[in-house]
Symmetry: none
Subunit: 182 residues, 4 copies
DNA sequence: CATGAATGAGCTTTCATTCAT
DNA sequence: CATGAATGAAAGCTCATTCAT
């Protein structure tokens, strides 16, 4: 893939995260990426297709991440590891996560990415359920939903609700809670 | 407040929820509400100000809702009642909640509503903390954050992630979990 | 109808005739008509709809013109009169006729105006056949087609093929030919 | 001439006929012809020059056709033969004739091809006048204009005006009309 | 309180053409 | 001969906002 195409994706990701998809114009992207409009449309069919390509890349990264945790260790350890990974990503790529929330909730972008969003949810759910299955087969479903809700809720509160969210404190509480699972 | 102004607010809320703030034009609103552009600008300074007025109305409704639960009953009962109210609202006003997530995560609208979003978070946090204070003064902070995260996470998963979310099952789990607090 | 809308139609007709539909931009029209783009799109749904409105106006004028000749006089006199009217229009509105040929042959505009083109052909054919029916019921069909072909062919040659077409000479020949019909 | 250049001309002719010159992009041509943009610009100076080359080819074909009829037979037979050739071409290459009308009436392409259009008209006129000269020297001019008008008018009506034109019937009428010329 | 004509900047997208490889 | 990345101008169209009536 050419250098300039990568540059466009990089800049577009940054601008979509910062200003939202609808408030980022192709002209903006071209200006920041130092390329012409013609070039962008040579590499991408439309503005939407840039979004799809970015979102797909992130989905693939998440899939890889999910595979790492399904190791051979005990389920409790796997959950601890999963929590660690998620919280560290959350702190590191704050803007990327905000961009993801943004496009998932905006009706227009949501429609465009519906398939990928579904796919992501399934990847995460299977990954989590795989762990809880080892603890309690009959309760693994509800436990998975609860766990994912807690993670997503914390992310949401941290990223977009509370100005000074005690992320560390909440993480410790979560780790403690999932240390002993009968 | 005039009938036509109410009509504009009602239609705007519906369209913002359905298509997003950026993808709803003033012309759309006028057409659907059967009023002229001049009239809308007579009642509202700008498109943004319609959004602010809608969001403020919802915030006030939430504040009223929060007051209801701070009754004289036992803290456990208060939490059960709070959960019941939230889940019932969630099912009833699905679109309104989606609209709220939408504007809270889109950078442009987020900036416009920053103050109200903060205010809302504080209202909810105080309301929840007021209950947990009666159970454990030293742990009330972290418990409140965890509780709010669970609620928000469930809402997010139900509204925008999983196509067929087991809302009832999750609600029962949550009620069970908060039935006995030492 | 507002003054400015009329101005737009007038200017658009002139520019379409002079440069063709595809080579006339909305910016061109706005510049010449001294109005903003927004105004044009306030009055017309699209560039196509301007074309349709112009074409429909001309069709209506033609329909009126057709009715004038169906008078009570003898068929030979009616044909002479029809020829006179057509040749006088041809000389007077040369650009308008060229514009009509242009849009009727260009694939894009042809599709847009298909219905009106058909309607026009029927109006003219009925009008001509109405005259020839009085002369020979069984040959009126073929005579009408021949007459229309001659008229259209002369117009085409005059407007777009020969640089110095002997329009008067051809008209006299045609008048002579249709003076005595058995 | 290279295979690929021929392919480009063939595809361009087809697309110009189908969609018009202005609505056919170089990218379209490249895609359909399975060649790169660079190659097309290696063979042709510009998009216009493709049009000129196509039109010139057709003009040359017409010139050859004209020469065939100027045989040693009687003038009446020559006209009958000319009519037969023209009607047979009209039916065979309907799209090619529509393309020719299209570019001759669209102002932009008209300017580009002005010279060739004039040349063509002269070729045809001389060819026809050569026949009528043998019948009546003093009336050959006006008779030629009338004959050409009839042919062009029939073509125009058949190709672009009437949806179900009785081409055979009209042809028979024309043959009958020009069978006996005093 | 109510209308809708009018503006002008900005939007996404298309396109003929060039040029390094 | 052949490719396709890259350009930049221009296209049709949208939209929040203003203002005379």
């Amino acid at each position: 893939m050419s250098d300039k195409k990568n540059k466009v994706i990089e800049i577009a990701t940054m601008l979509f995260a910062k200003n939202g998809f609808e408030n980022t114009s192709m002209a903006n992207i071209c200006l920041e990426a130092n390329v012409s409009k013609g070039l962008v449309y040579h590499h991408f069919k439309s503005k939407e297709s840039i979004l799809v390509e970015i979102f797909t890349q992130v989905t693939n990264q998440m899939a890889e991440m999910g595979e790492k945790t399904t190791s051979s260790s005990k389920p409790e350890a796997q959950i601890q590891q999963l929590i660690e990974i998620i919280f560290s990503q959350l702190k590191k790529d704050k803007h990327l996560f905000q961009f993801n929330l943004n496009v998932m909730f905006q009706p227009t972008t949501r429609k465009i990415l519906h398939e990928q969003i579904e796919q992501r949810a399934n990847i995460l759910f299977k990954s989590v359920k795989g762990i809880f299955d080892q603890i309690s087969a009959e309760r693994s479903n509800v436990l998975s939903y609860m766990f994912i809700a807690e993670i997503d809720g914390i992310a949401l509160n941290y990223l977009s609700i509370f100005d000074d969210y005690p992320l560390e404190m909440v993480k410790e509480e979560l780790l403690k809670k999932y240390r002993n699972l009968k």
